[in-house]
């Protein structure tokens, strides 16, 4: 019983306990959450998609077989087969995947790359990795359009000048697309902040992948002052790459710029990274305006990244005359005929000097045959072609004229007599000079509307054959390009040895930062008999015009640079510049040493007449940007020279002003005898003297009386170079005292030309030319006065026939000079004397073919001619002991 009681008690207790627990369980079930992973051996499995090596345009959905006992999967995608995770490698890993497929959230911008992928099956204890699969992520290589439809997308750089950005929907370019319009006004671009005046940056951010394209295409229009405009992009590593848009002002342009023509911008603290244009991924597109002084507007439309090759039809690299119908022959003084040969590669244009309806006299004029091209030029910096002439046209000049997109006309003049023996020419674009401007007068040889082939100065029948006319690069054609030999005397260039017009362009490289850069060999204003110099152009409101050459070998032990210079900068005839007294060029000479450092020296106002400048090396300054251990300026280190010009002006107060963006075109500085020398210190020596009124009579200016002249300092020289063109200083004078100048010539031959370069002081008040002349009774003498005014050369001529064989005093009023060159509205009057640059005497005689001579003396400019009689007086008077 006791056992029973105990048993009952225990059962009761157990039941109570159980009951209690049951009651508890009803209130709170206990749930244990199983989150442990599977275990056991994981079976092998294979990748399914993408198939190995599959080409895809976007990242695919990755799929794989299920692996037995796998709890989850890991997927890795990488650009390297070993799935390395270096900084420049693509690597993505995702873990904890419960499905047998996965889509990455990301995109990969590096295209045209093989990628690798693999999957690892994982459980609590084991891992099993699949084989590695590959796929090729191919880029979309179609053209890429950049949006110019929203002005808001473009921001104006706050640090630069202000500009307004808007969108024009008038189909301005006729391409059916909107245009981005950037406009600015003078008051905004000239805020007085030197670092940003005229600098405008318009930025559009557009992170863009660019594959399979290699150039930008867009329509562009610019109207405004001369400015440099760039298309700039920021690449993947934040480097700024820019390419200049070759502007055709006021013209609706089609522009194509190849990526290879973009340059890394290194100024202004911009990012320098790998120095490679990583155009496969760009971040920003920008329009950058520099030196945009004044009001301006630019429009851009249809900006695209393109395949250059697909636009070949827009380009021309050589002319096939057979494919282009010639336009009407213009200015046909020569009875032109044309013939095309060699599958269109050869053009022969024939002509005769006979009179026709355009040219009654049949002795002068010019003519062209025109070919309309309307294409972009392929990249190059010169034209190469064959040129042969037939007939007696040695005195003629072949003309090749190019009309640009903005209508500017540029001409290359090739004297027939100077055509090289191999009859092949390579003419740099820079050797073309502006003949007529309708646009901005800048050389923009990237688009040709028209090519014209012509001739001038023909007196007989002949023909000119142009063959294989093509665009080329000087560096491919010319050996030792831009290299000079320094002779034993330290001379770099005396400009005397050049055979053809283009030859200086092979030795001197133009910086192309200034649109008026040009080199011309000049005899007319060169100092010294038989000498030639070089005439270098620059424009005032642009960057320095620079002319440079490298040296073939180191120099000797010199310590100074020497050169002759004469400034012929002129004040614009625009009344806006009346406040200026005198304009003059600042010359900056830079010497470069072997390690690249630049040393420079400046001549603030180059003299208006020939002056020798000697600049000691010690007066050269190291240019900005070179620090630390720089190579010193010593002759053995010097490897090159650059001569640059920019514009200075003096206010009437005589105050020298800083360079100013004031428009003056066609300024020239004449340079000669550039070389190294030895000098204790810098200095200058006047080679010419300014012509001033005489002390006795303020209205008389003695130009030349030859009394103290020597052959070394003789102001006159022969210009033509004929053997019968001989100058002799003589004691045969009208007074029997002093010296005169005997000018030789030969009858029935081409005229001699004896020239004297002049520089008149502004105080000279002449209205006539007066001189003593003793002739031979049969010669005709041409007195030519040359004037350079507002960028244009004027030539005025007076003609004396059957010059007396006795000493006579000739007085020729300015009005008796006829203008034979220059604009109609500009006259030779006393106010213009200061612009006279040269006086020449030409002598011909058709009576016989004998050698003869004319004697000149007491050449004066005189302001005493009576106004009552007007200037229309030729006075030829006996010499009575006074002039």
């Amino acid at each position: 019983m006791k056992k029973i009681i105990i048993a009952l008690t225990l059962i009761t207790a157990a039941l109570l306990i159980t009951a209690g627990c049951v009651e508890q369980e009803n209130v709170k079930n206990e749930l244990t959450v199983p989150i442990a992973a599977r275990s056991g051996e994981i079976s092998s499995f294979s990748l399914i998609n993408p198939t190995d090596g599959e080409e895809v345009m976007v990242l695919p959905e990755f799929t794989w077989q299920k692996a037995e006992n796998a709890d989850r999967y890991e997927i890795e995608v990488a650009s390297s087969a070993d799935f390395s995770q270096t900084d420049d490698a693509v690597y993505v890993k995702k873990t904890g995947i419960t499905d047998t497929h996965f889509t990455l959230y990301s995109t990969i911008k590096e295209k045209n790359v093989t990628y690798y992928w693999r999957v690892t099956a994982v459980n609590e204890n084991n891992r099993k990795r699949s084989d590695t699969g590959t796929f090729y992520l191919k880029a979309d290589e179609s053209e890429i359009e950049f949006d110019v439809n929203y002005a808001d997308e473009w921001t104006v750089h706050e640090q630069g000048s202000a500009a307004t950005v808007s969108v024009d929907d008038s189909d301005f370019f006729g391409n059916g697309k909107n245009s981005l319009v950037v406009s600015f006004v003078e008051e905004d671009v000239k805020r007085g902040i030197p670092s940003s005046d005229g600098w405008i940056v318009i930025t559009h951010s557009q992170e863009t992948e660019m594959y399979g394209v290699n150039a930008f295409f867009f329509n562009f229009y610019y109207s405004g002052n001369d400015a440099d405009v760039y298309l700039r992009v920021v690449d993947e590593d934040n480097e700024y790459w820019h390419a200049q848009i070759k502007l055709a002002t006021n013209a609706k342009q089609t522009v194509i710029i190849r990526f290879e023509d973009f340059e890394l911008r290194t100024k202004g603290g911009t990012t320098i990274a790998n120095q490679v244009f990583d155009y496969n991924y760009i971040k920003y597109v920008e329009l950058v305006f520099e030196k945009s002084f004044g009001d301006g507007v630019a429009m851009m439309s249809d900006l695209r990244a393109i395949k250059y090759e697909n636009y070949g039809h827009l380009f021309i690299d050589s002319v096939n005359f057979a494919n282009i119908a010639p336009e009407n022959v213009v200015h046909d003084n020569y009875n032109f005929s044309t013939e095309i040969k060699d599958d269109g590669k050869t053009l022969t244009y024939g002509f005769s000097g006979a009179a026709n309806e355009n040219n009654a006299k049949g002795i002068n004029g010019y003519g062209f045959v025109k070919y309309t091209i309307n294409k972009l030029l392929v990249n190059g910096d010169a034209f190469a072609f064959g040129l042969e002439c037939e007939g007696n046209i040695n005195s003629a000049t072949v003309l090749i004229r190019l009309i640009e997109e903005d209508g500017d006309r540029w001409v290359y003049r090739q004297k027939v007599s100077l055509i090289p023996e191999d009859k092949k020419l390579v003419v740099p674009f820079m050797a073309f000079t502006l003949s007529e401007y309708h646009g901005d007068a800048s050389r923009q040889f990237y688009y040709v509307k028209q090519l014209q082939f012509g001739v001038e100065g023909v007196y007989s029948t002949g023909s000119i054959t142009v063959s294989d006319f093509r665009v080329t690069s000087l560096s491919d054609e010319i050996a030792n390009l831009y290299v000079s030999e320094i002779d034993d005397n330290g001379l770099i260039d005396d400009f005397n040895g050049y055979g053809n017009n283009v030859d200086p362009y092979y030795k001197w490289k133009l910086s192309e930062t200034n649109k008026d850069e040009a080199i011309a060999i000049d005899k007319e204003l060169a100092f010294g008999s038989g000498n030639t110099c070089v005439k270098l152009g620059y424009k005032a409101d642009m960057g320095q015009a620079m002319y440079g050459t490298m040296f073939a070998s180191p120099t000797k032990e010199y310590n100074a640079l020497s050169l002759w210079a004469m400034d012929r900068s002129v004040k614009s005839d625009n009344a806006a510049f009346n406040y200026l007294d005198e304009v003059c060029a600042q010359m900056i000479v830079s010497l470069y040493v072997s390690t690249g450092e630049e040393y420079y020296a400046a001549v603030d106002a180059v003299a208006k007449y020939w002056t020798e400048y000697v600049i000691a090396f010690s007066d050269f300054t190291l240019a900005e940007g070179y620090y630390g251990n720089v190579t010193p300026l010593a002759s053995e280190n010097i490897v090159g020279i650059k001569i640059g010009f920019q514009y200075y002006y003096y206010a009437k107060s005589g105050t020298l002003r800083i360079p100013s963006p004031t428009y003056i075109s066609n300024n020239y500085v004449y340079i000669d005898n550039v070389g190294f020398t030895t000098a204790e210190k810098s200095g200058k020596r006047e080679l010419m003297h300014k012509l001033v009124p005489s002390a006795e009579n303020g209205k008389v200016c003695v130009v030349e009386d030859f009394d103290t002249a020597t052959y070394d300092t003789l102001s006159f020289k022969g210009e033509r170079g004929y053997d019968y063109e001989v100058l002799t200083l003589s004691e045969r004078t009208a007074s029997g005292e002093g010296q005169s100048l005997i000018m030789g010539y030969r009858g029935k031959n081409e005229s001699v030309a004896y020239a004297m370069a002049t520089v008149f002081d502004t105080s000279v008040e002449a209205n006539c030319v007066k001189f003593l002349l003793k002739g031979d009774g049969k010669a005709t003498v041409y007195i030519n006065i040359y004037m350079l005014y507002a960028g244009t050369t004027y030539k005025y001529r007076a003609t004396l026939t059957a010059v007396s064989s006795e000493w006579m005093v000739y007085t020729i009023g300015f009005d008796n000079f006829q203008r034979v060159e220059g604009k109609e509205e500009i006259y030779l009057i006393k106010d213009k004397v200061q612009y006279i640059t040269k006086i020449t005497f030409g002598i011909v005689n058709g009576a016989d073919d004998e050698d003869s001579e004319i004697i000149l003396d007491k050449l004066t400019f005189d302001g005493t001619l009576s106004d009552r009689q007007g200037y229309k007086i030729n006075s030829i008077e006996d010499y009575e002991g006074q002039l």
């Binding site: 009681i5 225990l10 207790a13 109570l16 209690g20 627990c21 959450v33 959230y105 808001d152 992170e207």
Partner: protein, 505 residues
Amino acid sequence: MKRFVSVLACAVLSACMLTSVACENETKSDVILFAAADVVSTSFEGLGVDWGVYEDVNKLAVGSWEKTLSAVDRLKPSLVRCMTNLDWLVYDLDDKGTADLNDDEWKYNFKNKYMKNTCDILDYCQDNGIKVAFGVWNVVGNPDPELDVWKMIPNSTSDVRWAKMTADLMEYLLKNKGYTCIKWFVNTNEPNYVGNVGASKNAYNNYEKWKTGVKNVSAEFNKRGLDLDIVGGDVTASGTGFSDYLMGVARELTDYADNYGVHLYVSNYLIDTGSFCDSIKSSYDELKAVDPKIGKEHRFIIWESGLLDGKNVTTDCNSYIANYSYGIRMADFTVQSLLAGANGICYWDLDDAMHFMYTESGMTAKEWGMFSTLSSASPLKQELRPWYHSSVMLSNLLTAGSTIYGGTYEKSQSFRTLATVSKDGKNGGIVAINRDSEAKTVTFNVEKSVDSDGKLYVYVFNERNLRLDGDGFVVPNAVIDGSLNDNVKLELAAGSVTIVSTKQL
């Protein structure tokens, strides 16, 4: 019999004692009970994210917007703080040549890419019932006085033009565009962070100017019938941010501002030791002493939240956002904030592509996001970061209107938890954060009846246990039959966030 009775009584007593001991042990030591007494928040606005107007949508990868929306779809934020920049929208100031600012006129451009992006964001918020705090980063103008044409910076938001232009903007958004999702206006970002003259638009700002601005803006809103409250402060909750702005709001602006808005970026140390909770609570209690309505009618919302460790001051990026630990700590941040009484949290931020650092050498993305849609970003940066997934779990669980329970458990540096029950009582869940290096087994119980569908979804967040589906979104580690009202026994993995939910997150 006496003996029998005695033995029986003894047995019963023993049984009762045994039972009692078992329950007591379970309750006190192993079961964390979330009871009515543990409620920490009943005016909960939910979790959200800073989704500001993109400074440059042209930098986005092709197709990225769709990806962004799919990510936000899954995040299901209750709150969005969306900031814009008025400099993008106003132009052509005409000051009439007078010093009187009242006659100034200007124009608006509401058709540009910035407004389009604004509308893209607000469209989404409107369609998905997300409450938006919409604001303007700064006053208009350039910090460089030489380049500044507006001259608004010296007076900051007290400038009379500010109220007009912000009201014009908000009127456009609310009335013209119909964005009633916008509930609050942010009267500039962090007005207490003054910065340097010439570099910061806040350089001359102070509480008085800001207060005037709030009153002016509020008056202008009222005049136009705009039903908008103003975020009280939107300040960094330290220094003058607390002493001037938040206390100022508590003292004198509760009629204008219906929430205390703070930005909190804290150190790992503060989070890891659990002292962040105390820190917030301390400030919260100070405010409560002045404004008893805090946490109820006057909500305490963290409009920007993040972690300081890993921040690069120069680039304004946080290199730790790519790590799982950032997700664990931000979950911990969330739990501690809610336990301290916060009524809502916005995570800083959604997408690296929204904001940039501008330097001489260009602009670089401020990398704080849950992902990057920048086309220039590496694939790794574009992928959904771990803390996106932890945020998805939290945001989906801790929805607006829910009750937050703090639970009763022994305080520890390495463990924090809370529970939630939705407003309709049909859903809820538990968040448990084990910061220990050892796994921990804990049993939870929610006292309030949760009328769910009998399933519990368990999610574990750490590098080892996070589970994703084929689209890269989080999936539960386990699904079991049961209820939150059961004793839910969990093994909390070391260094993990575990979430039990009555619905799929």
